[in-house]
Symmetry: C2
Subunit: 124 residues, 2 copies
Amino acid sequence: MPVPLPADFFDPDCPVQTVPVLGGRKWAWKIMRCLEGGPRRFSELRVPLAGITAKVLAESLRAMEYEGVVVRTEYDENPPRVEYALTPLGRTLLGPMDAVCDWSRANLAELLAAREAYEREPSA
Amino acid sequence: MPVPLPADFFDPDCPVQTVPVLGGRKWAWKIMRCLEGGPRRFSELRVPLAGITAKVLAESLRAMEYEGVVVRTEYDENPPRVEYALTPLGRTLLGPMDAVCDWSRANLAELLAAREAYEREPSA
DNA sequence: GGTGCCGGTTACTTCAACGGTACCGGCGGC
DNA sequence: GCCGCCGGTACCGTTGAAGTAACCGGCACC
């Protein structure tokens, strides 16, 4: 297939650029999983996300809210309560995420082997 | 669904941690697409990846090689030639990637709308 | 002998995500 | 009065990806 790639191979507003959550956010996938079963409170999320700090969790949730996959609901009760949940849009993202997770699970051994092989012979 | 999430909700070596390429690397998805049609040379890749610098392309390719989705082949010709190609493992990743791309394409309007809405009313 | 291409490398800078610590206001309980 | 819980914010430092710019050796061409 010797056809050279053209300079306009990519759409200037290629949808990949708009993929939320998936890029550069360490905790986002796990947060999605935690919300899969229903709305959760801030401190409730901190339990399974062992090691996350309040700051990073707040940042991540706000970013995911910005991207439209999470909603934040503040209840004017006493004591005040805040709940985070997936939006319908966010819920539709779970499918494609599953595909990637399944791939990763299925190829875990090969992935780890590749890294080891590279370290033995970096760019032969 | 009021069942609280347990502290060991996530497998300590959860496969999500091992997803290559997808996290934190700006150009990796596009590079995958460029290699989809067959092996490419370094300078050949720079054409469709408008704006990428030699340094970042070299770094990205090396990282992808480390993760086992790309192979680098050096031909001892004159002038010397280097080709990059997807590994079989890398090729199997295209499927899940397509799922995410399709999702993004299908929901592009909603994604952009969510961001605009957030900017009008940040965390109401 | 100078210019350019190929496939990079090196050094320096910028930026965003992450992590750590400290602290806040409003409330309830002791 | 004091402590702690809840849901954060403010400040600071670190890291790692990305960008900028300069340069390299080997070869071909003129």
